[in-house]
């Protein structure tokens, strides 16, 4: 479980310290060069005691003031951005690629679709969307806006897109912002809205859903791919062991960051299960077909979908 000291470690870590400059001592247990040590700050403690009256929300299994969660989540993703894709492969054994392929096939975009891919970060969904339109329809007029709160993740996404034929075309654009407030996107302007593995990190999920409803055109589709609850008790136990024992350890080995991955697996447990989330989507005004969701891999992930009618 992420402890209070781990939380403070996360908030104090800066990007510069995670990109270690050259040390020359091999097989040494020194992890920093001497001018890099993090200053001991007591200001974090002061902030926490003053925030006693504020509304709290969950950050993994910890409770934090609401206004701090956004900053902490930003820090987590700044830390993991450079190794995000490798860690996704390590954590899911490559299965996340199958999930995302199925997600885009379920969306089944038609030529000329305008997609808003929120929490799109490193661009997995956006790339698959454009590839699908090109391969299935021979279409080059589909457009995607990759939207993310974290500039580091967007940088990784831009870098990945430079190696594709979509680089420097009008098909892909990048925008930084908060999913709870899409102020620069006009009402009724998007054909489809996707958010893959991002909504559980948002502080106010209901506001995200309301904004999604606002920016979609009538007839537009909202689709969400997210980790969800495993109902089967045997698989659930194996999944728990894997999540809490293997993933933070792999995070430490690959990325030297146990705390960020501890947060990621805890945030999965805190997210509402499939039926509850489907109800939240309905409450935001969307029309859902049937149950409103489809389980993937026994419920490890789920695709939720709603239409604005």
């Amino acid at each position: 479980m992420a402890s209070r000291t781990a939380l403070l470690r996360l908030s104090r870590r800066t990007l510069s310290s995670s990109m270690a400059p050259s040390r020359t001592a091999p097989f040494s247990t020194s992890t920093k060069v001497w001018h890099q040590q993090a200053p001991k700050s007591t200001s974090d403690n002061n902030n926490n005691t003053n925030a006693g009256k504020e509304v709290e929300t969950h950050f993994g299994f910890q409770n934090v003031p609401e206004n701090m969660k956004e900053h902490l989540v930003k820090q987590v993703f700044a830390n993991v951005a450079s190794k995000y894709d490798i860690m996704n492969d390590v954590m899911s054994g490559g299965v996340h690629r199958l999930w995302k392929d199925h997600f885009i096939r379920t969306l089944a975009p038609t030529p000329g679709t305008k997609l808003l891919d929120v929490a799109g970060g490193t661009g997995d969904i956006a790339m698959r969307f454009l590839d699908y339109c090109k391969e299935t329809h021979g279409d080059n007029s589909a457009q995607v806006t990759v939207f993310d709160i974290n500039p580091n993740m967007l940088e990784v996404g831009k870098e990945r897109f430079t190696k594709t034929p979509y680089h420097n075309t009008s098909q892909v654009s990048f925008m930084e912002g908060n999913a709870e407030n899409l102020e620069h996107i006009p009402d009724n302007s998007m054909d489809a809205y996707t958010i893959a593995f991002g909504i559980r990190n948002c502080t106010h999920v209901d506001r995200v859903l309301k904004e999604a409803y606002r920016v979609l055109k009538p007839g537009g589709r909202f689709m969400c791919l997210e980790f969800s609850k495993v109902e089967n008790p045997v698989i659930s136990k194996v999944y728990d062991v894997f999540s809490f024992d293997v993933i933070p350890t792999m995070g430490q080995i690959v990325a030297n960051d146990r705390d960020s991955y501890q947060y990621l697996v805890e945030s999965i447990r805190k997210f509402p299960p499939q039926k509850e989330f489907a109800k939240m989507i309905k409450d935001a005004g969307f029309t859902v077909m049937g149950q409103g969701y489809e389980d993937l891999t026994f419920g490890v992930a789920a695709i939720h979908s709603g239409f604005k009618l």
């Binding site: 097989f27 040494s28 020194s30 992890t31 060069v33 024992d245 933070p248 350890t249």
Partner: protein, 275 residues
């Protein structure tokens, strides 16, 4: 009463009462509950202890084995990952740290270290004062070594995965004194120098991490460095690693103003062959 007046009856009564008391204390369980002890061994999925010291991250035995294997491969592939070298040492240290602690308890200096638990930080070492010492003294050479490598005693990764406060201190002390070993032996901070020092430490401490570094580390060397290692460094390490005083027992802080040669003589270590 004197020994002769103890009768057989009172002796038997005494023995019986002692046996009754000891039986009550041990409370030998019935046969079927003794079988249950087969299943109450430590679960591989639960950390065995709570948080015992600052920086302690309790991990389950399953995590420990994954971390041990993963850190071994990562440290070999990328020797600059100091955190992985540290994690490898901690996850495999286990009973060897207890052995080092027991050896420290046999020596009066070692006992003093365990009791007082000195920490080596830049404040406690007073690096500025050491820089003022004359050349050739142990302290001056030590600070020169630190400045060349751009490290300070504060840059070491703290101990995270040892499940005992005292053994965590032993591990921390072992790590902190590593720089002193470099100054003492004169080994350079190159890959082959570090491996030679790991051979030396292996003979001193027997830690599995030193064994792994000693046997697998040379895979990363060029054949010229490897032949140098085999011809000069390893024989030197074999001779002086086992014959010198256990360096974990040395209170380095008190040897700072002595000349390096004197320190080497007292501890029974010859400087490494210069090649």
């Amino acid at each position: 009463m004197s020994a002769r007046t103890i009768t057989a009856a009172t002796a038997n009564a005494t023995i019986a009462s002692i046996r009754a008391r000891s039986l009550a204390l041990t409370r030998r369980p019935a046969h079927w509950t003794r079988c249950a002890t087969l299943f109450t061994c430590r679960s591989p999925l639960e950390p065995p202890t709570g948080k015992l010291y600052e920086g302690h991250i309790p991990i389950s035995p399953l995590q420990r084995s994954i971390l041990a294997v993963g850190s071994a491969f990562t440290a070999l592939a990328n020797p600059l990952r100091g955190d992985m070298v540290a994690a490898l040492g901690e996850t495999t240290g286990g009973m060897f740290l207890a052995r080092i602690r027991d050896q420290m308890l046999l020596d009066p200096e070692g006992r003093r270290i365990l009791r007082e638990r000195p920490k080596i930080t830049s404040e406690s070492m007073q690096l500025d004062a050491l820089r003022q010492l004359p050349d050739g003294t142990f302290g001056r050479e030590y600070v020169r070594f630190l400045d060349d490598q751009q490290v300070s005693p504060d840059t070491r990764e703290p101990v995270h995965f040892v499940d005992s406060e005292e053994l965590a201190y032993v591990m921390q002390r072992y790590r902190e004194t590593h720089d002193f070993y470099h100054t003492l032996t004169g080994l350079p901070v190159t890959v082959d120098g570090e491996i030679a020092l790991k051979w030396f430490e292996m003979l001193q401490t027997g830690l599995p991490m030193t064994m792994l570094s000693s046997f697998f580390g040379p895979l990363r060397l060029t054949s010229e460095e490897r032949s140098r290692l085999h011809e000069y460094y390893i024989p030197w390490a074999l001779e002086y690693g086992s014959s010198s005083k256990l360096l974990m027992n040395v209170r380095w802080e008190e040897w700072m103003d002595r000349p390096v040669e004197e320190v080497q003589r007292e501890l029974g270590v010859q400087p490494c062959p210069q090649v």
